[in-house]
Symmetry: C2
Subunit: 244 residues, 2 copies
C-alpha cells in the first residue's frame, strides 16, 4: 500500500470547452454532522490529493486526473507551486482536514497542474465523489485557496494561449473558425473582432482548411479546419526565432 507524503499535494485545474464556454471540473466537498445529519460543509474544490512516496509530481497529477475523470493521456502542465503559510487555515478547511483522518500535516504545500479537455467528447466515470463541470464565469464557493489556484491557472493559460496554439486541445478534431474564435474569447474573457480574428488565423500555416463543411446545423454550414501539430512544430523555429 502506497504511503502519502503528509505535507505535499498536487491540485489539478481541469479546463474543458463545450463549444460555447470554458468550464472547470470541480469535486463536491460535503460534510454532515454524524449525529444530527446537519450539513457542516457543502462546497467545491479542485481535483487534488497528496503525492505518494514513490511518485513524482507529473505521475501524481496523472493519477488524480484519471481517478476523478477516468481520463488518460491528457494534456497536463505544471504551472505553479503554492506554499502560503495560511492556505488551509479557514475554520471550514480545518474542520474538513480534521475529519479526514488520513495523517495530513498542518501545513501542506501544493503543486498546481492544469489540464485541457474537449469536454464534449468526455464522459466522466466517477464513483466515489460527486464531480461536475462549472463555467469559469459562474463558479460556486471554493474550499481552501482553490479560487486563487484557479485564477493563477487561468492567467497562465491566457499567457500560453498568446504564444502557443494550445487551444486546439480543447476543440474537436475538426472545427470552424467561429468555434476557434469562441474558444479564444472564453479563455481571454473578452470579445474579439471577427474580421481581425479571421485575418490572424488565416496566417497560421498549421491551420489546415478542409474540403468539408459542418453537417446538421441550422445555419449555413461553415468550412471545417484541422490543426496540424506537425506543421506547427516545423514552422515554430522560424516563427519564434526572434520576437520582442
Amino acid at each position: 500500500m502506497s504511503k502519502i507524503i503528509p505535507n505535499i499535494s498536487v491540485d489539478c485545474v481541469i479546463f474543458g470547452f463545450d463549444s460555447n464556454q470554458l468550464n472547470v471540473l470541480l469535486v463536491e466537498r460535503k460534510l454532515l454532522d454524524e449525529q444530527t445529519s446537519e450539513t457542516l460543509i457543502d462546497d467545491w474544490t479542485l481535483a487534488g490529493y497528496h503525492i505518494f512516496e514513490e511518485e513524482d509530481f507529473d505521475t501524481a497529477a496523472a493519477r488524480i486526473l484519471k481517478r476523478l475523470s477516468g481520463l488518460d493521456h491528457i494534456y497536463l502542465e505544471q504551472f505553479y507551486a503554492f506554499g502560503g503559510v495560511n492556505r488551509l487555515n479557514k475554520p471550514k478547511d480545518q474542520l474538513w482536514l480534521k475529519h479526514q483522518h488520513e495523517g495530513f500535516s498542518d501545513r501542506i504545500v501544493t503543486v498546481g497542474y492544469y489540464s485541457l479537455i474537449d469536454n464534449t467528447s468526455v464522459t466522466l466515470s466517477l464513483k466515489e465523489r460527486n464531480v461536475k463541470w462549472f463555467p469559469v464565469s459562474e463558479l460556486p464557493e471554493l474550499g481552501f485557496d482553490h479560487e486563487e489556484i484557479l485564477q493563477k491557472a487561468l492567467e497562465k493559460l491566457r499567457t500560453k494561449l498568446r504564444n502557443e496554439p494550445i487551444g486546439f486541445e480543447l476543440l474537436p478534431e475538426k472545427f470552424t473558425i467561429s468555434q476557434l474564435q469562441r474558444l479564444y474569447e472564453s479563455i481571454l474573457g473578452q470579445s474579439l473582432d471577427r474580421r481581425n480574428f479571421r485575418k490572424k488565423v488565416m496566417q497560421m500555416k498549421y491551420l489546415i482548411p478542409l474540403n468539408e463543411k459542418q453537417k446538421d446545423v441550422k445555419h449555413k454550414p461553415a468550412q471545417l479546419f484541422l490543426f496540424s501539430k506537425d506543421v506547427y512544430e516545423r514552422t515554430k523555429k522560424e516563427r519564434f526565432d526572434f520576437t520582442m
Copy 2:
C-alpha cells in the same frame, strides 16, 4: 529559532549579465574527510535551502538570495517545482546530506526561482560559503539535479524573453543597442542579425532614445537608451490584445 521543513526546499538560479555573457551564481560544495583531509566532494550547486515553517516560497527565495549575495529587492520569479523520486540519490549527494546533520528528509522536493541581475553593478557580500559567477556556456560539475533545474530555468527565461522585456533587469540603466543585442544573443544562445535586431528594437515604444552617448570607449561612442516600464505597462494591453 526557526524550524526547517525537512522535505521542502527552494533553489535559486541567479542569472547575471556582465555586458558580454550570461552568468549564473553558484555555491561551492566542499567536503573533506575529517581524519585524512582528503577531498570527498568538490563541486558546485545552486543557491538553495529548506523553507522555514513560517515562510512561504517567495519569502524563502528572497531570504536565500539575500543571505548568499547580500542582495535585496531583486527580480525573483518562481518557474517550476521539482519532485523527482531519485533527485538526490547519487552517492555523492547522499554523502553530502549525511554530513549536514540538519534533519533533512530522504526525499526532498524543491521549488525553483530565477533571479535576474546586472552583475556589473553587484558586489557579493559572502562570508559563510564560497560563491562565484560562472558563464552559462561553461558550467562546472553541478551537484544534485541542479544541472536539470538550471536548464529548465534557462528554457523558461528564453520563453519569457520572447514575450516580455525582462532582459532589461540584466542591463545597466542606460545601454546601447549592441549591449541589448549581446544580451538577447547570450540568453537565446544564438547570434542575431544586426540589422533585423535594430529594426525590431526600434518598434518598441518603451525603448527611449537619449540625447546621450557612451563615454570612455575606444570605438565610436554609440547612442544610449532607457527602458521605460511605464510606457511598457501602458502599451502592453494594446500589443498583447491578440497575438497568435
